[in-house]
């Protein structure tokens, strides 16, 4: 390590930190879109839905199907991802998780069922589209803004994340159902005593959450490649965001998404400068997850509600 140190310092001094910052926000945006659904369904249904990963995967492939295989162009992919994953999420809740909860399934049973569902979807996708990676036909033009290299896909992503955050904020604070979602997630009994139809509220949340997961999957697929493992590959950071942000907290998730995006990108810079495999990128989210659970299991939610 000793003789490597000057090299490391040289490397770090060469890093374009503005770029790192930009990349962090891109990463944060994907994690935000993917985590919103997870944190809201987790808050309402009280179990971590591991099949959320496959909601992302399906969204990506549904978009690919419409945009590339049917040739309807990339914008149509958004519609496809949103609708396909949304329907899948609603069906999963209605068909599996709601009945299980009604039968008094334990938390562990719910989690096992979620993993089982994930397997079904993942291998279904694998059967339909094969296990070898695919990519979108569209190419993204890259250009420089100042010293930062951006691609128009990333600008779209940032725009989508901002729009989503704005719309979700309006939904959660200005509409009746949005307030019911927040209220039910913190105090289901009182929501019931206020006359909230909890099943309907939960169903809507699953639908919207899964639909957003589909969008996240689409961006991930467009930015990298499509594979049946696509969702699984970003499930861990998505969980880290959910827990760091505080389960059920939308605003906590926003903060957490960017914290984890930043940590990962800065982490990667250090990993490369020390010559460690960048595959450990995933371990950074894991580390944050563990530290949160040990130091502050409630996450940031108290600061953001």
């Amino acid at each position: 390590m000793g003789e490597r140190l000057p090299l490391v310092i040289y490397f770090l001094s060469m890093v374009n930190w503005a770029q790192v910052l930009f990349n962090s926000s891109v990463t944060g945006c994907i994690y935000l879109i993917s985590a919103v659904g997870l944190t809201l369904t987790y808050g309402l249904s009280k179990f971590p839905n591991f099949a959320h990963a496959e909601f992302m995967t399906l969204g990506a492939y549904a978009g690919y199907f419409l945009a590339d295989q049917l040739g309807l162009g990339f914008p149509s992919a958004f519609v496809a991802a949103f609708i396909a994953s949304g329907i899948l999420g609603a069906l999963s809740y209605r068909g599996i998780f709601q009945p299980l909860a009604k039968r008094g399934a334990s938390l562990i049973h719910l989690m096992v069922a979620a993993i089982g569902l994930g397997f079904v979807i993942r291998h279904f996708v694998g059967e339909l589209w094969g296990w070898s990676p695919r990519s979108f036909k569209v190419t993204w033009s890259a250009f420089d803004i100042g010293i930062v290299r951006v691609s128009d896909l990333w600008l779209w992503l940032i725009f989508a994340a901002l729009a989503m955050a704005g719309l979700m904020h309006l939904l959660l604070t200005k509409t009746k159902i949005g307030k019911a979602i927040r209220g039910t997630s913190s105090n289901p009994e009182l929501a019931l005593a206020s006359g909230v139809n909890i099943n309907r509220v939960t169903l809507v949340t699953w639908l919207v959450g899964a639909a957003l997961a589909g969008i996240a999957g689409l961006f991930r697929g467009a930015g990298t490649r499509l594979s049946p493992m696509l969702g699984w590959d970003i499930l861990l950071p998505t969980f880290a965001v959910t827990i760091l942000g505080g389960i059920g907290s939308f605003y906590g998730a926003i903060a957490a998404a960017f914290i984890i995006g930043l940590a990962e990108n800065i982490g990667v810079v250090f990993l490369t400068s020390f010559g460690i495999s960048t595959e450990y990128r995933m371990a950074i989210a894991f580390l944050i997850l563990i530290i949160t659970l040990i130091l502050r299991p409630g996450g940031l939610a108290r600061m953001f509600r």
Binding site: L100, M111, G118, E127, I243, M282
Partner: protein, 309 residues
């Protein structure tokens, strides 16, 4: 392929996974711990075995050390993780499995990274036919399985096992145990991890080659199916589950070979597994075999136990 060898091969795999299923049954069935990273301990056992056998340690020592190292990793994890809520424990163990796989994949110097690692045959003698080798493997695996079964059976039917169940049934009643509650959980977790490590060691020993792709989360999931199908908290159920799942997964592959179904057997297998588990949880959550003993009220057990000790 020699059909007899094929059958012997199935028998070996059933034995290996029965050991892992027993270990999960101890943790989940009896102590109520949702370990979703079973594969991590299986992996630890397998890689420990592989590395030790490469430096020429005799196979039984490799197996024992594999189990011990796995158990100590289980112990380390349990120190902090077992105090977590059920869902957090699940997330942490699941991701721990992924991280561990990441490590053996990324660090080539440990065990060949993605290329995997081969090891010398443990059981071989001059003039041994493949059939005899397979039979010898069955002997070894089932010897371990029987030992493991007796161990788990003894533990779970002792007063100690009843305390574990009491903790599982009623966390508040178990608070009467105070800090000991974690001690019991940690012990169950450690023992379970050790057994899983033993299974991993046998797995490596039998295949004589392992790579990171053998330790996907699918392994954990399969083991969960075994335990849930068989019936948690019933050790015979774990054996039954392991047999059924292994036969089922072979069955889907045979289907491909002989019936020419136009679907990839691997996909088919996991689609069916997933559907199966969801159906079982919906319609027969207690599994095929019932819990091996009548449930007693958690508080009673605990208070009796406290009086005893």
């Amino acid at each position: 392929m020699d059909p007899l060898i094929y059958i012997l091969d199935i028998i070996v795999f059933v034995g290996i996974f029965a050991i892992v299923a027993l270990s999960l049954n101890l943790e989940y069935g009896f102590a109520g711990l949702g370990n979703f990273g079973k594969v991590a301990f299986f992996l630890t056992g397998a890689y420990t075995y592989a590395l030790l056998s490469q430096i020429g340690l005799p196979f039984f020592l490799c197996l024992i050390i594999a189990a011990l190292i796995s158990a100590s990793i289980g112990f380390l994890i349990s120190l902090s993780a077992l105090r977590l809520r059920e869902d957090y424990l699940a997330i942490v163990t699941l991701t721990f499995g992924e991280i561990l796989r990441l490590v053996v994949k990324a660090e080539h110097w440990i065990a060949g990274g993605v290329w995997g690692i081969t090891m010398p045959s443990a059981i071989s003698w001059a003039g041994a036919s493949p059939r005899m080798m397979a039979a010898a493997n069955i002997g070894l695996v089932y010897f371990c399985l029987i030992l493991g079964f007796i161990l788990v059976q003894l533990v779970s039917n002792s007063p100690y096992g009843r305390v574990l169940r009491a903790i599982r049934e009623d966390e508040t009643a178990a608070e009467a145990l105070g800090k000991d509650r974690f001690k019991y959980k940690a012990q169950a977790f450690m023992l379970g991890s050790g057994l899983a490590g033993l299974g991993g060691g046998l797995f490596a020993q039998y295949l004589r080659f392992i790579d990171p792709y053998m330790f996907l989360p699918t392994v954990t999931f399969s083991v969960w199916i075994m335990v849930i199908i068989g019936g948690p908290a019933n050790n015979w159920g774990a054996l039954l589950g392991a047999t059924l799942v292994e036969l089922f997964s072979r069955g889907t592959r045979i289907l491909k070979d002989y019936l020419l179904v136009p679907i990839d057997p691997n996909n088919l297998q996991y689609i069916l597994f997933g559907l199966l588990i969801v159906f079982i949880l919906l319609y027969r959550p207690q599994g095929l075999l019932k819990e091996s003993q009548v449930k007693t009220k958690a508080l009673e057990v605990i208070s009796r136990w406290k009086k005893h000790s």
